[in-house]
């Protein structure tokens, strides 16, 4: 992804009704090709809104987002050819099987019908999904299995930019690890650029080259996990990314007597 500067206000239906609030505002960032860029933030902080803005599903009120040189508003169709997304809720026709859902995706993206079934089987087997599960209705599969199919569906189209919106939320530790390993493998093998939102600090630390912490629609910090920890601890004392998160989002006001925000 090239330059990505966002200044966005999105109308949300909050209480009171029709109150206009900025969902994300004043976000400026740049993601390098092949980078895994993490976005951490509490519920309702604007993570998914940001992913939707990049995925061309929301229009920014102001500012711009550019994906590999294409503006997400003016060149929507071009951007859509380059990206794919895994959302927190595996969005499928749950009555259809994994292969039927993947067939829908493959046809929409114009994939070769002689090629995609093999690719799909390969991705799903690398993700640890048993072959016999591929033809069962998704509603009969566990959430972890469904999420693996969602990851496979996104990767089937060989996206340059993969948007992962809490892809491992609700997965058991084994499934979580399998999905994380797969993301790292994809970056390694295909150089896929990844924007990942997560609540899981260990996941962010394990996967992300850089992490932005978002709170109330604004970035309060953006750096490598190591640098963020150093900035918060100050004295070189060991801190976890979770502790950094608490300090920067003000969820725990005191950490060794410090409470200031850190930003790049």
């Amino acid at each position: 992804m090239n330059e990505g500067s966002i200044l966005s206000r999105v109308i949300n239906r909050l209480v009171p009704k029709y109150k206009i609030v900025p969902a994300v505002e004043g976000l400026t960032f740049h993601v390098e090709p092949g980078e895994i860029f993490g976005i951490l933030g509490p519920n309702g902080s604007g993570k998914s809104t940001l992913i939707r803005l990049i995925s061309t599903l929301l229009l920014p009120d102001e500012g711009s987002i550019t994906v590999f040189g294409h503006d997400v508003v003016k060149d929507r169709l071009e951007v859509r050819k380059l990206i794919n997304r895994v959302s927190v809720d595996a969005a499928f026709f749950k009555g259809l099987s994994a292969m039927e859902n993947l067939s829908y995706a493959a046809r929409l993206y114009g994939l070769d019908k002689d090629v995609w079934p093999g690719m799909a089987s390969d991705i799903l087997s690398r993700l640890g999904l048993e072959r016999e599960k591929l033809h069962e209705p998704l509603e009969d599969l566990s959430r972890g299995m469904q999420q693996k199919v969602a990851v496979a569906r996104a990767l089937l189209t060989d996206p340059l930019l993969l948007l992962l919106d809490e892809p491992t939320t609700g997965l058991d530790p084994v499934s979580k690890r399998e999905v994380q390993d797969f993301i790292l493998e994809e970056r390694e093998q295909r150089g896929t650029t990844v924007v990942l939102t997560t609540h899981d600090m260990y996941e962010a630390e394990r996967l992300c080259d850089r992490v932005a912490i978002i709170d109330h629609g604004r970035f309060v910090a953006l750096d490598t996990p190591e640098n963020l920890k150093l900035k918060v601890s100050g004295n070189g004392e060991n801190v976890t990314l979770e502790e950094v998160f608490f300090v920067l989002t003000g969820k725990e006001l005191k950490y060794n007597g410090k409470s200031e925000c850190v930003s790049e």
């Binding site: 109308i11 599903l57 997304r85 969005a91 499928f92 026709f93 046809r107 993206y109």
Partner: protein, 268 residues
């Protein structure tokens, strides 16, 4: 540049997906089909007199029931396409795919027309098995032409209705059902529109179903030629030519509105 062949192939994603859903819920599909057959038969029996006369009335009613069966499926499938995606939670996935909205909606319409035609043909054969329908004087070619032109109009109306769930997740679908009910009431599906109160007769003039039914009955019951029903055919053609681009335009505007206000996401 628009590659029509490629876009046409991509539109089959919607057709295949929806037929896969039918296969998955085949039991329900059969139940709904049987219900439609029984419903059509009960309407047809109304036309029969106890002495067995009234075949013309039966044919009049059957033509209305079959046409309405086809057109309402067409309208319903197109109008509910967005709402269905909302319920399933797939709307964001489908709408961020790199396909033109025209391709997406083209696929929806292609499926709706195919599905509606298959259902109608099955119902027609079932009714023909019970009643001795005399189509000896029917002009089937003209009838088919009426059906094709009315499909264009109903696709147009359906596209306009499909925008409603983009504007309001729940109320949009409710409004589409009300539209369908209003068309059923004023278009003379089972009766001549002349029996309606005068204010309803005025409404019947803006329903494409009114012209469809009038033209189809003229062709199938009286053997009318193209020339004899050309005014109805022209109205249907003009309605289709006007409503389909209008529907697409309105749909695009509604999608932009939904994208600006954050309504393009799962709900309902």
């Amino acid at each position: 540049m628009l590659d029509i062949n490629r876009e046409f192939r991509r539109s089959f994603a919607l057709v295949e997906r929806n037929f896969n859903l039918i296969k998955r819920y085949l039991g329900w599909e059969i139940v709904f089909l049987i219900y439609t057959i029984v419903n059509t038969l009960t309407i047809a029996f109304i036309g029969l007199s106890p002495d067995g006369s009234g075949q013309d009335r039966v044919l009049y009613l059957v033509v209305g029931a079959l046409l309405w069966g086809f057109l309402s499926v067409l309208f319903h499938e197109v109008a509910e396409s967005v709402q269905w995606e909302r319920w399933e939670g797939t709307i964001e996935y489908s709408f961020m795919a790199p396909v033109r909205r025209l391709t997406y909606l083209g696929g929806v319409c292609l499926y709706a027309a195919t599905y509606g035609a298959i259902r109608t043909i099955i119902v027609m054969f079932a009714v023909a098995g019970i009643f001795d329908l005399d189509l000896g004087s029917a002009n089937l070619l003209t009838g088919l032409c009426v059906l094709l032109l009315s499909s264009l109009s109903f696709i147009g109306v359906g596209l306009v209705a499909a925008t409603l769930p983009l504007l309001s997740a729940e109320r949009g679908s409710q409004a589409a059902h009300i539209m369908e009910a209003a068309i059923l009431l004023v278009s003379g599906v089972y009766y001549d529109v002349s029996v309606l109160p005068s204010w309803m007769q005025k409404l019947s003039l803006i329903s494409p179903a009114t012209y469809t039914l009038r033209a189809a009955r003229a062709a199938l019951l009286d053997g009318a030629s193209f020339h004899e029903i050309k005014s109805e055919l022209l109205v249907l053609l003009a309605t289709g030519i006007m409503l389909i681009p209008l529907g697409l335009l309105v749909f695009n505007k509604a999608e932009l509105y939904a994208m600006r206000t954050g309504k393009l996401k799962r709900s309902g």
